[in-house]
């Protein structure tokens, strides 16, 4: 079996240019790997026929950019024309979109090849991908463990080297947390960087699409390809074109980094805190100033997130009523039946809980007590971050409080999903960019991730720091669960 997909993007690009390999070789290798790793359950729908067709069409085309012909996996809440898009829900189990999300158009413009739609938490609600109607994906570092969520399938596809690239979406950590659990690089860009047109909304003011890749360079390349103002999305922001790789070879000496004390407090596992301290020392050796600081409101973020995300979700998911598309209860006696039973049977537990709580939080006077107040405190969080960024270039901390835990653990605890994301949620509240990079392993050899938070639209600076750390750490990040080298304690 060929191993072209283990090569770097630049190496693959060289071979494509020299006609040593063709896009079809890459696509076939990708499908082989998916087939061999079926038990990981990374994909909900494969795009095999079309992907092969696309690859063949590229044979004669000029290799015009680094991402040309590269297989990519797309999270299944990003709509793809003529390719089933389920949001991992029974509600959309047979839904075939008739348009492409704006990011998908951009992917196609760069001639990347869409391999399939990845598994996730239903409607991106969850932190383990276990709320998927199509059963949870497994962590390639240990099959018994969760891949994280909600972009679990995308994380698995990249981590297990099925595809070099994937798109995820991040509402409250859904790119960064699974990236951390599976040892890959995941970037949630600044809110507004990437068009949300065609992303099936969970919480509109928090959702953001971002790249998930094997390394920092690939990540920046993929971000280059997907950013930009979109006339279909009023929340997308008009920024001058920039190359996110441009600072990567530059020295990080003189950078100022803050570590909020809350991020290294007792809510985080000790070995993870130690890893963060280790990184801090490494950075200091590089001439970076690292200060431990107090950043107010971080402990309130989960509460605010719950109110805002569930409130918005309850409204965003009202359109799923069995009338114009999606699951429709077919034995209904009357209109009420159609609503009540289509939604009862079409949605899973986690989604129903969140819609119910969200509806409640917006009803009557609650809208003021909870929702409006949450938006006010949210504004304060932003101001608090702004103060920090007046003094520091970036903020770092751990991405998660623990490494990936066992599948099935704590399934009935409705709070668990939120608490898993306690460290990554503040970033969504403020709309800031945040990324995960692997910085080591736990004693049971599960990946540990570092969370880098940048100021608005300063992704390039984050990549500069991340790539330097990647270079210093030189981690071996290819999981190999098959060869039994990894044991669960």
């Amino acid at each position: 079996m060929s191993k072209y997909l283990d090569l770097s993007i630049t190496e693959i690009n060289e071979k494509l240019k020299n006609k040593e390999i063709s896009p079809l070789d890459l696509v076939m290798e990708s499908f082989d790997r998916i087939e061999q790793n079926k038990e990981l359950n990374a994909f909900i729908t494969l795009n095999k026929e079309q992907a092969i067709k696309d690859a063949k069409e590229l044979e004669m085309a000029e290799v015009d950019n680094l991402l040309f012909g590269i297989p990519i996996a797309i999270k299944d809440n990003i709509v793809t024309k003529d390719l089933r898009t389920t949001c991992a829900s029974k509600m959309l189990a047979n839904f075939v979109p008739i348009y492409n999300a704006s990011v998908v158009e951009k992917i196609k413009n760069k001639h990347m090849i869409i391999i399939g739609k990845t598994n996730m938490d239903e409607f991106a609600m969850g932190s383990t991908s276990q709320t998927s109607y199509f059963k949870a994906p497994h962590n390639p570092w240990n099959l018994k463990r969760i891949a994280g969520g909600s972009s679990g399938g995308s994380a698995v596809a990249v981590s297990s080297r099925m595809t070099p690239l994937a798109l995820g979406s991040d509402t409250g950590g859904s790119i960064r947390q699974p990236a951390s659990y599976t040892g890959i690089v995941g970037m949630k860009p600044t809110y507004g960087r990437v068009s949300r047109y065609g992303l099936i909304a969970f919480a509109s003011s928090l959702d953001q699409i971002g790249p998930m890749t094997r390394n920092v360079y690939d990540n920046a390349l993929l971000l280059n390809a997907i950013v930009g103002k979109d006339e279909h999305d009023l929340t997308s922001v008009d920024k001058e074109d920039e190359d996110f790789t441009r600072f990567m070879k530059q020295d990080i000496k003189g950078m100022k980094i803050a570590i909020p004390n809350y991020f290294v407090s007792e809510i985080v596992d000790k070995e993870i805190v130690e890893k963060v301290h280790d990184v801090a020392s490494l950075l200091e050796k590089e001439g970076v100033q690292v200060d431990y600081v107090d950043l107010p409101y971080l402990d309130k973020s989960v509460t605010l997130y719950q109110i805002i995300a569930m409130g918005e979700a309850s409204s965003n998911l009202a359109r799923f009523d069995g009338i114009r598309y999606g699951y429709s209860y077919d034995k209904c006696q009357n209109l009420d039946d159609l609503y009540l039973k289509s939604r009862q049977e079409g949605f899973g537990d986690e989604v129903k809980r969140r819609i119910m709580v969200g509806s409640y939080l917006l009803s009557g006077e609650n809208a003021k007590t909870y929702y409006d107040k949450a938006l006010m405190i949210r504004d304060d969080i932003c101001k608090s971050f702004a103060k920090c960024f007046a003094k520091y270039d970036m903020i770092i901390g751990p991405t998660t409080t623990t490494v990936a835990y066992n599948l099935g653990e704590d399934m009935d605890n409705p709070l668990k999903a939120f608490l898993d994301d306690v460290l990554v949620i503040p970033v969504n509240m403020a709309g800031l960019p945040g990324m995960n990079i692997p910085v080591g392993f736990s004693r049971d050899h599960m990946p540990i991730g570092l969370h880098i938070i940048g100021n608005y639209f300063e992704e390039a600076k984050m990549y500069q720091l991340a790539s330097r750390l990647e270079e210093i750490l030189k981690l071996s990040l290819q999981p190999n669960y098959r060869e039994g080298g990894i044991k669960d304690e």
Binding site: P97, D321, R324, G364
Partner: protein, 473 residues
């Protein structure tokens, strides 16, 4: 009569005259094939997002300015959440917190009887889909879903059905003249909901809302019927419930639709998909500058040009004619003649042929030609009838038509004198009456001249000559 005082507040929904919908770029058109004017957003397809129509915002702003509102320069939208099949997203995008206009007014009545009805706010929202119902099923057409609406909410300032009707007529006229909406109640492009309460004291009574009344006349009936119903209940010691009723055209009464749910059930919250919409000073100024002439300004302009009150009233009821006459406001012409012409023979022609003025060839230049011909006596009020249809339907000029029709205007003084002499000779008693100071005799003799000349005589010239000839007798 009753000791109860009525208090009425009115909410009007008006569809804006745009090319496209409020938040999608599908056509805004009435009467097209079902589900033909839709984009994916209008069916609330997953992943779609709203955009904001400049045309709709401009018209809403114009309406707000026409209603004397203060303008909110920084606006957000809000979501009003409820489940109904005609509401595809499960929420309506509206403006609950930052309506485009607030604190406006509409003035009704005239002079000492005038009264300001205060406008609480005017906000932008979107229409729902159209549904038709059969026994077991309803059927949805999303062409109307997302059509831009403005909702205009008054303070409870009206105290009678008459005032309510006056307000609605004035509002309708204002919105029509601001060119914001068709305001066709029969097609649903203007819809009224009325809040009615009665009380014997200053403290307002419990109000009921009457929805979907299909004409201004019915608004008046509905208010009176509802006030009577409330009074009967109160007289029986029954407490009025806050409820929504609908007006039934057939029985002319209001019928209970639903009792208001306690508290706010609509789960309003700010629309996160639409960041701040800022109306620049420049945009507001341009909109003001481009405001079509509103009714009150037209009345003033017409009065200045000596158009009669009755003609002014008629012109205001016929916007195309009023717009047409406005083309001439800078011209030095006789507006009495023009308004008579437009409201008389031309209106009769338009009504008979079901045409609009724009369907005719009466360009401004041709109209000026016609007016000059009248002034110069080339044609008269009488024989204009003989050429008018051709003048409206062809591009021939006055002279050509007069020739074609064999109409010769008698400007020939000698010929006229001959005719006048003849008439004087044949009507000695009138001549005598004239000399005895009876003015009516002149009128009679003039009539004879016009009759003899088949209306072709220039009345001014004929009159002058007649007087001269009479003096000679």
């Amino acid at each position: 009569m009753s000791d109860y005082k009525k208090t009425v507040g009115i909410e009007v929904h008006c569809e804006l005259k745009t090319n496209t919908k409020m938040f999608s770029s599908a056509a805004n058109a009435y009467g097209d094939e079902a589900n033909s004017n839709i984009t994916l957003l209008d069916l609330a397809y997953p992943g779609t997002l709203p955009t904001v129509n400049y045309g709709a915002v401009m018209l809403a702003l114009r309406a707000a300015l026409a209603l004397n509102c203060e303008i909110n320069e920084d606006m957000f939208f809000d979501r009003k959440n409820y489940f109904y099949p005609d509401l595809p997203k499960g929420y309506q995008i509206t403006q609950a917190r930052t309506p485009i206009g607030i604190n406006g007014y509409v003035e009704i009545g005239e002079d000492e009887n005038s009264k300001k009805i205060r406008i609480h706010d005017i906000h932008i929202e979107e229409d729902t889909a159209k549904s038709v119902h059969q026994t077991d099923h309803s059927y949805l057409d999303f062409n109307r879903a997302g059509v831009p609406l403005i909702e205009i909410v008054t303070e409870p300032d009206m105290t009678s059905s008459d005032e309510a009707m006056l307000y609605l007529e004035k509002l309708r006229q204002l919105l029509l003249y601001a060119d914001v909406s068709d305001c066709k109640m029969e097609e649903g492009s203007m819809r009224c909901d009325v809040n009615v309460s009665i009380s014997k004291t200053e403290q307002l009574g419990t109000r009921t809302e009457i929805k979907n009344i299909s004409s201004i006349r019915n608004v008046g009936i509905a208010i009176d019927k509802e006030a009577t119903r409330q009074e009967e209940l109160l007289n029986q010691g029954i407490v009025i419930q806050e409820e929504t009723r609908r007006f039934d055209d057939v029985s002319g009464t209001t019928i209970l639709m639903r009792v208001k749910e306690i508290g706010n059930d609509y789960r309003y919250f700010p629309e996160p998909d639409i960041p701040k919409l800022h109306l620049s000073k420049e945009f507001i100024r341009d909109t003001k500058d481009n405001m079509p002439m509103l009714p009150d300004d037209r009345i003033e302009a017409y009065k200045k040009r000596n158009i009669s009150d009755i003609n002014i009233k008629k012109l205001l009821q016929n916007k195309p004619l009023s717009d047409y006459i406005n083309l001439f406001l800078d011209e030095d012409i006789d507006f009495v003649v023009l308004s008579n012409l437009l409201l008389g023979d031309i209106s009769a022609y338009l009504n008979r042929t079901m045409k609009d003025l724009t369907d005719t060839n009466l360009s401004k230049t041709r109209c000026l030609e016609l007016l000059t011909s009248l002034k110069e006596g080339k044609i008269t009020n009488k024989n204009i009838k003989d050429i008018l249809i051709d003048y409206l339907e062809t591009t021939k000029d006055v002279d050509t038509l007069l020739k074609e029709k064999g109409i010769e205007n008698i400007n020939d003084t000698e010929l006229l004198i001959k005719i006048i002499k003849n008439i004087i000779e044949n009507n000695p008693e009138s001549v005598e009456a004239y000399h005895n100071g009876h003015d009516r005799a002149i009128k009679y003799l003039m009539g004879q001249i016009m009759k003899e000349t088949k209306g072709a005589a220039n009345p001014a010239v004929a009159n002058k000559l007649l007087q001269e000839e009479l003096k000679k007798v």
